[in-house]
Amino acid sequence: MDVSQYLEIFIDETKEHLQNLNTQILNLEQDSENQDTINEIFRAAHSLKGMAGTMGYKRMQTLTHDMENVFSEVRNGNIKVKANMIDILFQCLDALEEYLDTIQSSADEGTNDNEPLIKALNQILNGEDGGEAPKQEESAAPAEKESAPAAAGAGEDGAKWTSIALGESETMVLGQALEQGRKVYGLTVYVEESCILKAARAFLVFKAVEELGEVLVSNPPVQEIEDEKFDFDFSIIVITDSPLDKVINAAQSVSEIHRVVGGVLNLDEVPEKEEETGAAEVTETPAAESAAAADTKPQQEPESAKKPAQTPAPVKESAPAAPAPAAKQEKKPAAGKPVVNRTVRVDIEKLDSLMNLVSELIIAKNSLVAATGSADSGAGDNSFNEEIEYLESITTNLHESVMKVRMVPIESVVQKFPRMIRDLQKKLDKKMELYLSGEETELDRTVVDEIGDPLMHLLRNAADHGLESAEKRLERGKPEVGTIRLDAYQDGNNVIIEVSDDGGGIDIEAVKQKALERGVITEDQAWNMSDKDIVNLLFLPSFSTAKKVTDVSGRGVGLDVVKSKIESLSGEVDVKTKLGEGSTWSIRLPLTLAIIQALMVIVGDEKYAIALGSIETIENITKDDIEYVQAEEVINLRGTVIPLIRLDDMLDVPKEKGDDENLVVVIVRKGEKQAGLVVDELIGQQEIVIKSLGKYINKCKFISGATILGDGEVALILDANAMI
C-alpha cells in the first residue's frame, strides 16, 4: 500500500503524540498513581504504534510496542512507576524522536534498532513479573484484551452494521459468496472523536480491509465517507476468506480508530432496502435486537447528508446509543480536557502566497492613495476619497486576519522545556523548578519556529550559570530549590519573552576581569564602561565566563548566537541582573515581520524607509545645535547627548547641495541607546511591505530589506539597529 501521501500527517501527528507523551510522563513522575495520566499515555503510545505500523516503520513500531506493554502493565497495576523507569521511558521518547527526524529527512526510519532500550523495557516487564513471563506472551495479552471486548460487543452495542439496508442485487451477491464458502462480516468502525482527518482514516481502514477481501456495502456510502460526511462511525459489509479476528485487527491497526465492532452477517436478519429514502421506517421493525443502534443511524444519515453543518447534534444522540464499556473508560480523561479547537492544517506556503497577495493589495492601495494625493485639486472628489478610505480599512482588516492566521501560540516551543529542565536537574545535580506563563502568547509562525534554540540557550544558561548549587543557596538563605521562570506577554506591537532565575546574578567584576584577560577591552575602557556595557560584553562572540566548560553551557557559543538569532528576527535581547539575586533576560520580538509601519524619508534624491518601531521622535534643529565630542557630531536634546549620523555620508548618497541651516533629525532608539539620523526631507508615515533583497545582495548591513512604493519604485528599508 502506498502511504507516502500520508507521510506529512504521520510526521505531524507523531510529533504531537510524542509531545503529549513527554508531558504526560512528566506528570506521571509527579503523580505516579493518576489513572487519567496513565490512560492518556497508554492511548498515545497505542496510537503511535498503530501509526508507525501503518506506515511500515517496523523499528519504531517494535519500540512503541514494548513501551505500550510497559504502560499496559502499569495501567493494570502490575508494575509500579519508578524513577529508573521514567528515565528509560524518556530515553525511548528521544529514540522515537530520532526515528522521526530520520523519517522527516529521508522518509526512512534508519537502521538503529535501539536494542538496549528494548532490552531495558523488557527488563522492567520481567523484573516485576519475577522473570517468568517472556516477552511474547506479554505482548499477546494486551492485544487479546483489546479484541475480546470488540468481538463480544458485536450485535449488542454499537454494532450499527446490522442495520445496513441491502438492495436486491447486494443480497444476491452475498448469497453467492456464502454459497462459494466465503465469509461475510459486518463491521462498524468507530473513529476517535479527536481525529482530524476522518476521511483519511476511513480510507486507510478501507485499504486495510480490502487487502483481505472486498467491501460490498458501506453506510454511509463511500462517496460520503470520502467527503467526511459521517460522524464518528461507519459500517461496512465485507466478503472475505479470512477469519473475523483478522479483519477486525486489520481495521483496528489504523491509528485513531477507537474501536471496531464486527460479527458474522446473517442474511435473514438484514433489513431490506426500500425504493425511496424512507429507510427509517423500515429499519425500526425488523432490527428488533439492535433497536437502539438502528434508531439513530438512519435518521441522522439523510439529515447529515443534506446539512453537514448540523452534524454535531446527531453526535450527541448517537453517543449514548453505543454504551460500550471500553468507550466509557477511555472517554474519562478526555472529558476533563478543553474541547479541541476546530482546526485545519494549512501548508505554510499557501499562507505565504495569501500574504503576498495581501501585500500586493496594499501596494495597489498605496498607489491609489498616492494618485489621489497628487490629483487632489478641488473638493469635488469627496466620494472618491471615501471609497479609498473604505478600501484602506478593508485592506487593513484583511491584513490583520491573514496575519492572525499565521500566528501560533509559543506553547508548541515552550512545551518541551519542562522536560529539558528535568534532564538538566539530573545532569547538573541542582534542584530547580521551571514556571511557565503566557504560553498562549501568539507570534508569527516563522518566528516561533526560530525562537526555540535561543530560548533553550537562555534556559540552559540560567540553570547552569545562574542558579547556585543547593548548599550555596542554603548558605545565602535562599530556598534550596532554584526557580527559573519563562514568561511571555504581549506589549503593544511586540511580544516579550523573559527568562529569569533567582540565582547568583552576573558577577560584573568577573566579566570585566575576563574581558581584560581576553584583550576584549583595555584597562582604560574598563574604567569608563558602565555596568550595563560590561554585561553586554557577554553577547560578544567567544565570551564565556563559566569557570569550566560543561556539557550544558559554557562553550562560548551561546549568547552571541542568541543575540544574532534574535536580531535576525528583528528583535532585541536585553539583560537585567543583580548580584546575588538573579538575572532576567528579556527578548523583545515584533509581532509580525512582513508588513510594518514606516516613516518614509528622502536623502539626496533617494527614498528610504525607517521602521516606526525604532523611531523615538523627529526633531528640527539648526546647525548651531550641533556640538562636537571627540570630533563626532552630537546634539544635546533635552539633557541627553545623542550622536548624529549623516545618512548621506553613511549611505554614499551623491551630494547635490551644501549643508542646510536647518536639519531634520530622526531620533532612533535601540534598547537604551539613541542616535539621530540626519535626513533631507520627510515624506510621511506609510504601511510598507517588506521584501527581501534576495541572497544575491546581502552585503550591506545598514539595509534590512526593500519595499515597493505606490508608484512601483523600490525604496530601501534602513536598519536603524545596525547604525547605532
Binding site: 527581501s692 545582495i697 548591513k701 515597493i708 530601501l716
Partner: protein, 166 residues
C-alpha cells in the same frame, strides 16, 4: 509594464512538439557595444525595458541596484562593469534581461540591445579554446557561428558569480 514575455517553458515543451530537436539550443543575441553575446534562452525569464534602478549602498560597483519586477525586488547587475568594459550608457534600446539562475535566484542584467533569437546546432558551437585565467574570457564558454557572424556565448553562472565584493 510593457514587457516582452518569452516562453518560460523548458526546452522540453518544444521537443514534444517536434519543434526543436535536442541538439539545437536557442539563444537570445544581445549586444554590448559592437560585440554580440548569446544567452541560453532557458535561463531567460523576462526582458523588460530600462527602468529606474534603486541604488543600494555599499555593494560591489557592478551591482546597479534593485528593481521591482511584478512585485518582486530583484538585483540588477551591469555585465559591462563586471567584464571591465566601460560603463553602460542608457539609450532607447537598453534592456534589462531577467535571468533565472538556480544558484543565485533571479537577477537582472543590463544589455545595450536585444537583437534576435537564434537557433544554434551543436556543430555551430565551438568551445572556448582559450583557457587562460583572463577574467573576460572566463565569462564565455563557447563561440557560436551564425550567418557569418560570431556570437560569444555567455557563461551565466560565471557572470553572476560574486567577485571582488567590497
Amino acid at each position: 509594464m510593457d514587457a516582452l514575455k518569452l516562453g518560460t517553458g523548458s526546452t522540453l515543451d518544444y521537443e514534444e512538439d517536434g519543434y526543436v530537436s535536442p541538439n539545437i539550443t536557442q539563444f537570445i543575441v544581445v549586444k554590448f557595444g559592437e560585440e554580440q553575446y548569446g544567452i541560453d534562452i532557458k535561463y531567460v525569464d523576462n526582458i523588460i525595458r530600462m527602468q529606474r534602478i534603486t541604488r543600494v549602498p555599499k555593494v560591489a560597483p557592478y551591482i546597479k541596484g534593485v528593481i521591482n519586477v511584478r512585485g518582486e525586488v530583484l538585483p540588477v547587475m551591469s555585465v559591462r562593469l563586471k567584464m571591465d568594459l566601460e560603463e553602460d550608457v542608457e539609450t532607447k534600446s537598453t534592456r534589462i534581461i531577467i535571468l533565472k539562475l538556480e544558484q543565485h535566484g533571479n537577477i537582472g542584467i543590463v544589455v545595450d540591445e536585444v537583437k534576435e533569437v537564434v537557433n544554434l546546432e551543436d556543430s555551430q558551437i565551438e568551445n572556448a579554446y582559450n583557457r587562460t585565467k583572463d577574467d573576460k574570457l572566463s565569462f564565455i564558454y563557447g563561440i557560436g557561428k551564425y550567418e557569418g557572424g560570431l556570437i560569444s556565448l555567455l557563461n551565466l553562472n560565471a557572470v553572476a558569480l560574486e567577485k571582488d565584493m567590497m
